[in-house]
């Protein structure tokens, strides 16, 4: 394979990506293995899949994993309750089981006539055994439906992107099959690029102050939940709308609630940096 066909994914306009991650995506596509992306919440893992789909001009199928999700749901669901109910009233044809088999997201990705990008979002939310239950299907790209005696095979092997929030350790057997990338929290320079993509007209002075304040807050280890990229974007939007700048004056920060989301953290910040008793909500009147 030539160098050219290896670098299929070159990034997209609205998503700033590091070279290492771009390489990892291309490796995953070439080797036809799922790409597992881990990182702090708010570092753009889900957006990566959107970016890949739009850059490669492919449809994106999203499977959002909940804590109650079972692996079988991704393959297909046999709606027994509907069938039972239909049988009671006798007005629908219940003899054909196929009418009651609904393909799950993985099944949809397999049967799609074109190659798709399949995003399995937040896989660590589910049960411990969930990733292992999918192993065979991810390897062989096919599964069997006993009710209709059908084997669904992938027409085109989907590009599988899996995201994980580090909530759980994933099983080894599952990890062996993936290409792995850890999205680090952006350093100030990368963060500047990300902010500029969202706010192309932002003033340099506002950006500089805002980033300085943001990274100062991130240095405080005592926060239960440090502010992340999405919070920074929200905060800058608020600053731009209100015309304030992002400087810290006597410890006071405008719109602190967009950056710090936990009450314990706000109390901590107020007592330590604003020299105020915990529990009071008032922030000093902040004028430009």
């Amino acid at each position: 394979m030539t160098q050219k066909s290896f670098e299929q994914f070159k990034g997209s306009k609205d998503y700033v990506i590091s070279e290492a991650l771009k390489n990892a995506v291309n490796v995953a596509i070439v080797l036809q293995r799922p790409l597992l992306v881990r990182g702090e919440p708010g570092t753009g893992k889900t957006l990566l899949a959107h970016s890949i789909a739009s850059a490669l001009n492919k449809e994106l199928i999203i499977w959002n994993i909940k804590s109650t999700t079972k692996a079988a749901e991704g393959l297909y669901v046999y709606d027994t309750v509907q069938r039972l109910n239909d049988s009671r009233f006798g007005d629908k044809d219940i003899s054909n089981i196929k009418n009651y088999i609904k393909l799950g997201k993985l099944g949809q990705a397999f049967t799609s006539p074109q190659q798709v990008v399949l995003l399995i979002d937040e896989i660590d939310k589910a049960d411990l055994e969930f990733p292992n239950d999918l192993l065979n299907e991810l390897d062989e790209m096919s599964f069997y439906i006993p009710e209709t005696d059908e084997t669904i095979s992938a027409i085109h092997r989907p590009i599988v992107i899996i995201t994980s929030n580090n909530e759980k350790e994933l099983p080894d057997a599952f990890l062996r099959r993936c290409i792995f990338h850890y999205i680090d929290f952006p350093d100030p320079e990368l963060m500047e690029e990300i902010v500029r993509v969202h706010f192309p007209d932002i003033k340099n002075s506002l950006l500089k102050d805002a980033l300085e304040t943001f990274y100062t807050l991130r240095k405080i280890d005592d926060f239960r939940k440090k502010p992340s990229t999405s919070e920074l974007i929200d905060w800058i939007q608020a600053l731009m709308a209100s015309g304030l700048d992002g400087k810290i004056r006597d410890g006071d920060i405008p719109f602190l609630g967009t950056l710090i989301k936990k009450e314990t953290d706000i109390d901590f910040y107020a007592t330590r940096y604003l020299k105020r008793r915990p529990g009071t909500r008032g922030f000093s009147t902040y004028t430009n």
Partner: protein
């Protein structure tokens, strides 16, 4: 190819398997990497599956590939300097030496060719990350010591990336992080069936329907909810002072996990005696007997302490040095009481294994399984807590 690298990785405790190695070989045969830099990232994404092992990967990479600076990479450094001398006023000694060895004409030819290449790539749009067509080396200028985020023109040798050991803090056997502790504690999930009945019980429904002569009758069952109860007992005696931070991290990790059915915590000095304290200021103590009455045996118990005290404090009936009064039983007896009441108990020791020969540590170690207060240790402790008796 590179087979000794495989063994070097394993030597540094990076869990690489043969299957993953073969995938790497396949990738190499498909030309996925054209220089050492790309190889660094390629191998890492295929072989290392957790950022906790990134640091070990860096160490192995550094040791195996050290000393390999292909002449091409040095040329690139010099050319870069030529292009933008303001950014890099100093050349390293190797670069100086290389310049002297180089043929000036050849150097200038490369330089020109590179300039031409750059101009083309600028127009390509996405090649230089986010610079929008401005200086291609602006990236590097910002954080020379830090993580390499630049493009293939990034010009820093892979060995130096590995040397930076950026991922030192992600190791799970050295530092502790509240998030990592949470991940370890989350393994205590044990789901049993409690809560409202809102899941369809298919088998039950079929049975009930049949019993009903074919008239549909739905049966519901409860979804699974977490039933784990955790009891955390922490030593706040003098010798634990240096570990106060560590313990508070463990505590906040456990406290912030909302899915424990019940989470209780108490403090003691060196060893549990007659009372346990619900707060660090130790104002009111709660008698242990009372606690043992109200806490069910299926609580998972984690003791956190260095288990270091003078033997008399542990074995003597009046061994408590902080309490001057009537004491009912020796510390060791109290601990045995705990052992007979609760089914799962572990002891986490922040003091490294080196001091495990201390007599009281050994005595307590025989009573409860003892683990290091690191993420790995906590993982093992949690495995013990969730194992069947």
């Amino acid at each position: 190819m590179f087979t000794p690298f495989f063994f070097k990785l394993r030597e540094k405790k990076v869990p690489v398997s043969l299957t993953e190695w073969m995938v790497l070989m396949e990738a190499l045969s498909k030309n996925c990497a054209s220089n050492l830099n790309e190889f660094y990232y390629l191998a890492r994404s295929i072989l290392v599956k957790s950022e906790t092992h990134f640091d070990q990967y860096d160490i192995a990479f550094q040791e195996y590939f050290n000393g390999i600076t292909p002449p091409l990479e040095l040329t690139e450094e010099i050319i870069k300097w030529l292009t933008d001398p303001k950014n890099r006023p100093q050349l390293t000694p190797e670069e100086m030496a290389a310049i002297q060895k180089m043929d000036l004409e050849q150097l200038l030819k490369e330089f020109e060719k590179r300039l031409r290449e750059q101009k083309e790539r600028h127009d390509g749009g996405n090649y230089w990350i986010g610079t929008g067509g401005t200086s291609p080396f602006g990236y590097n200028g910002y954080n020379p010591q830090g993580f390499l985020v630049g493009g293939p023109g990034g010009m820093r040798s892979a060995v130096r990336i590995a040397e930076a050991r950026y991922f030192r803090n992600y190791r799970s056997d050295v530092t502790l992080d509240t998030r990592q502790l949470k991940v370890a504690l989350k393994q205590l999930r044990k789901l049993n069936r409690i809560g409202p009945e809102d899941e369809l019980d298919l088998d039950g429904t079929i049975n009930a329907t049949c019993k009903n002569a074919g008239e549909l009758e739905f049966k519901w069952k409860r979804p699974r909810k977490n039933t784990v109860k955790l009891l955390l007992l922490m030593d706040v005696g003098g010798s634990m002072e240096p570990y106060a931070d560590l313990c508070s991290q463990l505590f906040s990790a456990a406290n912030s996990l909302s899915y424990f059915r019940s989470f209780k915590y108490y403090y003691f000095h060196n060893c549990p005696y007659d009372v346990l304290y619900p707060d660090i200021q130790q104002r009111q103590g709660i008698p242990v007997e009372h606690l043992l009455k109200i806490l069910e045996p299926d609580y998972k118990v984690i003791f956190v302490g260095d288990a270091c005290m003078s033997p008399s404090e542990l074995l003597d009936r009046y061994g408590d040095i902080y309490f001057h009064g009537y004491q009912k039983m020796a510390g060791i007896e109290r601990l045995k009481q705990f052992k007979s009441h609760f089914s799962h108990i572990v002891w986490l020791n922040p003091e490294r294994s080196a001091l495990r020969n201390y007599p009281t540590v050994q005595i307590i170690g025989k009573l409860f399984p003892m683990f290091d207060l690191t993420v790995d240790g906590l993982n093992s402790a949690v495995k013990k807590l969730t194992s069947k008796l």
